[in-house]
Point group: C2
Chain length 321, copies 2
């Protein structure tokens, strides 16, 4: 029987992970801690009937709260997803990523060390690699993030590495790029849908539309995390997880208009970056996870299209479309 803690469990990815974790009958309890800054109670409402599930509204950096939870529930596994996931906002306020993206990791690691918990799964990011044009594999260097979000995740990984080594904590690092899906709270698809509602004639796109990235649907990501963290057995495991292809922003804009049945003209602001800290293009090498037997069911275009559909279906509550 397993007692599991998930941080950021009411967030976009966290809530999907909760749903899947609870399908495992060996799970005795699943405690989701979330400060509800980006997460919502609505995201996990459908789990409230399962008496193994508990949502705790609180701050991961509150060590008293963490200590109480570890004492009460004797967790044997932690999924650490809590973070500021909105890269673009921290240019003006870097302390958001210091506190929410980095320090939460440190707090979780300290609680695990003190309470002798030996397994953690960490949601990292392709943003730790910075602005590179080479194909990116897991051992790529140098690591020079250009966003504070990427810096906060790399700083987290630094301590995951030393804690794993010093205290024998089995660690799974998943580095993923753009993850999309129906309950996402920001990102390009979400922004485009909001924009075409606000401006009935034009869709203004930041940059030149040529920023090209791989998009992964949250359902595929969750399967990768659960599959690899149960089948791989090294002390320290690092995986790039992403799609096998890319899509550019211009094509995403077209799909959004198609699915919404909208007739907007698309206008580009120009430049090769959407915002400071954005990475114009990257090629993400996922040979390692593919070799382990996982692959995404949806390619980038399918992931984007499904997300638009999911957001449109939820439009009454989410977007007031």
């Amino acid at each position: 029987m397993k007692n599991i803690l998930i941080t950021g469990g009411a967030g976009f990815i966290g809530s999907h992970l909760c749903t899947e974790i609870l399908k495992d009958s060996k799970v005795k309890c699943l405690v989701a801690v979330d400060n509800l800054l980006l997460g919502t109670q609505q995201n996990v409402e459908h789990l409230s009937a399962d008496n193994r599930f508990k949502l705790v509204v609180g701050d991961i950096n509150d060590m008293n709260l963490l200590n109480d939870l570890f004492v009460s529930f004797q967790f044997d596994t932690v999924f650490h997803l809590a973070a500021n996931s909105d890269i673009s906002i921290s240019h003006k306020s870097p302390s958001i990523d210091f506190d929410n993206t980095f320090k939460t990791s440190w707090s979780v690691l300290e609680a695990m060390r003190i309470h002798n918990c030996k397994k953690i799964i960490f949601a990292s990011t392709s943003a730790i690699y910075g602005d590179v044009t080479e194909e990116i594999h897991e051992d790529f260097g140098p690591l020079q993030p250009i966003s504070h979000y990427g810096a906060g995740k790399l700083a987290s990984e630094a301590f995951f590495s030393s804690y794993s080594y010093n205290y024998g904590i089995q660690t799974y690092i998943f580095r993923f790029p753009n993850v999309v899906g129906g309950s996402s709270t920001h990102g390009v698809i979400y922004d485009f849908l909001r924009k075409i509602r606000e401006n009935p004639e034009k869709l203004i796109v930041l940059g030149n539309g040529q920023q090209e990235k791989t998009y992964l649907h949250v359902s595929d990501l969750v399967q990768a995390i659960l599959y690899l963290s149960s089948t791989e057995n090294e002390r320290y495991n690092v995986f790039n997880v992403g799609g096998t292809d890319t899509i550019n922003v211009a094509r995403i804009a077209e799909i959004v208009l198609e699915e919404a049945g909208a007739k907007h003209t698309i206008e580009y602001t120009g430049g090769d970056r959407g915002w400071i800290g954005d990475v114009p293009k990257f090629r993400y090498k996922i040979d390692k996870v593919l070799s382990k037997g996982w692959k995404p069911l949806l390619n980038s275009e399918m992931a984007v299209r499904k997300t638009v559909q999911e957001l449109l279906t939820a439009k009454m509550t989410k977007l007031d479309y």
Copy 2:
């Protein structure tokens, strides 16, 4: 005219750097902040007659202190050396490296962002590379430190990278391995001298004596830092700085006994590591700094021997030998 802040300025390396910085007549003021946990007033006593020099005893993580200093002195350059430099002690107390090795970096970066200071020189470490046997160049990956000290420095570098990119801060990262010299407060040479004083017959050496590393004398390191930070002009500069050769622990023990005129027998505790977090052996590639016109005047053996002599000369005050 230059206004310079140096953190950890009363420490082992910091104090040597202060001495050299003040030789530059273009320096208008040099403010050293140090909490005197590892640094000492004695290390900078010889500078007290220079009215451009000021030692402030305080904590770098005290943002009020930092803000006051930046307002008063309008620094244009920061040398950030403050850290817990004793790798072996943080296994039991990782918060030492969180607060002193990592958070100090964050505090300095925030002060620079707020007060618009645009140049920083950072003392990083070869420990960010972790336990690797391959030859280590600056772009090496993956970066998986095994000590919390290495983690704290890598976490610092992560934010140096994002701050440099976001705010145009010119950044010089110097990654160095074992640095030795007469006012060092810990490390293998210091330990051996203390041990032969405490035990008149045997010198007990942790590990099997075969841990092989490169040693750099502090005088060579300081020259590298000042030379490269004044001649290189990239926005973000990373350099491995080390010796061109290696020396093993057994040979260091012999040199210590030779220079001290001692007749102890040497006994090894066995195992390929001196302590948890120690790296048994590495090969450090310094082609990049050599190509820029710097090279160490002392090789590893000379650096070790000079340090033993310096520590013995200072024995009355330092070691009570």
